[in-house]
């Protein structure tokens, strides 16, 4: 998709793929039949520049047609660079500017607490996104209301738009910060399915956050941990190399 459209944000997308796989293929009650059922689990992608990872996941789940992926980020396309819930099934919330998705997820969680047999709410935020003040407003309200049906995941890939996350504004001690705001905190390798599943399975009476240590550009050696892959698109040679690497890993 990204190669075909020569779009950006591939590094940010690759860092969350494994988390989305666990969410959509293990943890969440969501499929091609129930994606508009009021009792479904909901996922809000707050760092919506990683949209290509979500679109791919929705296509694998047959919530959107596979052909849509060819209509990403191109003229007369269907899937925009950032999320538009208006016409795309399975996209719970339009987003793209950072610091919005967690608040919306908090609203959904409040609504669901009053709805019998309702689903759980999940939201994924970037580590750089936690620079936004609105994220911490949402964090405070969620813990105050003891939203036990809400799980946030922090994609802690340690690289943001124009620098290393902890050089720009230090996030550490990230676990203690979320704990001190009243959340149940789990720290995992964000590319380890078993660790992710275990963390998602943990019962919680407060809102839960999973600090997922991830690698920006995960799975493609020359993209991993490189800031420039927040922006670059692969050329033909890089695309072939990347596909070969991913095929070899499988």
């Amino acid at each position: 998709m990204i190669y075909a459209s020569q779009s950006s944000h591939i590094g940010a997308a690759l860092s969350i793929v494994d988390i989305l796989v666990v969410l959509y293929f293990h943890t969440m009650n969501i499929d091609s039949k129930n994606y508009s059922n009021i009792l479904r689990d909901k996922f809000v992608l707050s760092k919506a520049h990683a949209s290509s990872a979500l679109y791919s996941t929705l296509a694998e789940k047959e919530i959107i047609p596979l052909e849509y992926l060819e209509k990403y980020y191109v003229d007369d396309g269907i899937l925009p660079g950032h999320l538009d819930s208006t016409f795309i099934p399975g996209v719970e919330f339009s987003a793209g500017s950072l610091g919005h998705g967690l608040s919306a997820a908090v609203g959904m969680a409040i609504a669901n607490l009053q709805l019998p047999h309702s689903g759980k709410i999940f939201t994924l935020v970037g580590d750089g996104e936690c620079n936004e003040g609105s994220i911490w407003e949402g964090i405070m309200l969620a813990s105050h209301l003891k939203l036990s049906n809400l799980t946030a995941i922090v994609d802690y890939n340690k690289i943001q738009s124009f620098g290393m996350t902890n050089d720009v504004i230090n996030q550490e001690p990230i676990v203690d910060r979320w704990k001190s705001f009243g959340w149940d905190v789990f720290e995992v390798d964000g590319h380890d399915f078993l660790q992710l599943i275990t963390a998602f399975n943990q019962p919680h009476s407060k809102p839960k956050v999973i600090i997922a240590h991830t690698v920006k550009g995960k799975g493609v050696s020359f993209m991993e941990n490189k800031l420039e892959w927040h922006y670059k698109s692969p050329n033909q040679e890089q695309y072939d190399l990347a596909i070969n690497e991913i095929d070899d890993q499988n």
């Binding site: 208006t86 919330f93 919306a104 609203g107 609105s134 949402g138 405070m140 309200l141």
Partner: protein, 306 residues
């Protein structure tokens, strides 16, 4: 207006369980009756307006009709991007209820004044805007708009505004109301300037000047057909608003006049693109901005128009 608003909302909430009320820690002595009646549908989200709007959007996406109540600058400007994206782009059924139109909060100063809100709200796709001019318009318009699709901004003054309308039958969302018909001049008001406009029209009447008075309570969608009819009368038109002359009612009417191809005398009366550095109550502020005494028409138009 705010008392009428909350009474109306309580009536609606009794009939419709979807109604939910959020406030970023405002509403003392106003919202208590709602909170007491519907504790599970009321939430003080704390002094955090950005998050409040996002939460409202999440609730609306879950099937609620959400009212967010605060002072105008805090419910429109502090959280503008959340309004633009979470409410308008996501097209959610959230109603922003802003208190303190113009300089209502006089001595509190410009941090609590609102002269830019109509301009910024008008520019957002999907957003609807109502600016009731009296308690009757407030009740009617809140009732008529509550279950409409998409977001809505409700611009209110505060309390103690008199009723200008005699009855509510003419008040329809999206339709201008003519309260007086005269053949010398047309005065179009919005929001809390309806009362002033009404006084001016009475005063002009005593001087033998007959003025058509229009309450433009819905700013978006604007009643374009009605304004085109006004233009076709070839009378001078004045707009009156307690808002910056940039981007508000005056601008909206000017756009339609400009595109009509007709040449008519036209003036915008409002706040001329400045912050108030005056200390004083609402009436005092209005005096300083020439919004109390009716204008001398010859001076205003720089020629004799009658």
């Amino acid at each position: 207006m705010r008392t009428t608003f909350i009474e109306t909302l309580i009536d609606l909430a009794e009939k419709d369980e979807r109604i939910f009320l959020l406030t970023p820690d405002m509403g003392y002595s106003v919202l208590e009756p709602f909170r007491e009646k519907f504790p599970s549908r009321f939430l003080n989200t704390g002094i955090a307006e950005q998050n409040t709007i996002g939460v409202a959007a999440g609730l609306a996406k879950s099937g609620k009709i959400v009212y967010v109540y605060s002072i105008i600058p805090f419910v429109t400007m502090r959280c503008f991007e959340q309004v633009r994206l979470d409410l308008a782009y996501n097209n959610t059924q959230v109603r922003l209820v802003g208190i303190g139109a113009g300089m209502t909060y006089g001595p509190l100063g410009p941090t609590h004044h609102a002269y830019e809100d109509i301009a910024i709200m008008r520019a957002i796709p999907n957003m609807k805007i109502i600016c009731p001019g009296d308690p009757i318009e407030t009740k009617e318009l809140v009732c008529q708009t509550y279950d409409m699709d998409g977001p809505l901004y409700i611009r209110l003054a505060k309390n103690g505004e008199p009723n200008i309308h005699k009855n509510s039958s003419d008040i329809k969302f999206g339709k201008a109301v003519e309260l007086n018909n005269g053949n010398d001049l047309i005065l179009v008001t919005t929001s809390n300037m309806l009362e002033t406009g009404n006084i001016w029209v009475e005063e002009w009447k005593k001087e033998g000047v007959n003025v058509t008075l229009v309450s433009m309570h819905t700013i978006k969608p604007l009643d374009q057909k009605f304004i085109e009819k006004l233009i076709s009368r070839k009378l001078p038109i004045i707009t009156l608003e307690e808002h910056n002359v940039i981007g508000g009612l005056g601008s909206a009417v000017a756009e339609i006049i400009a595109e009509s191809g007709c040449t008519i005398p036209f003036k915008r009366i409002g706040i001329n693109d400045e912050f108030s550095h005056y200390v004083g109550n609402h009436t005092f502020q209005r005096k300083k901005f020439n919004l109390i005494k009716k204008p001398n028409l010859d001076t205003l138009f720089k020629k004799s128009i009658l």
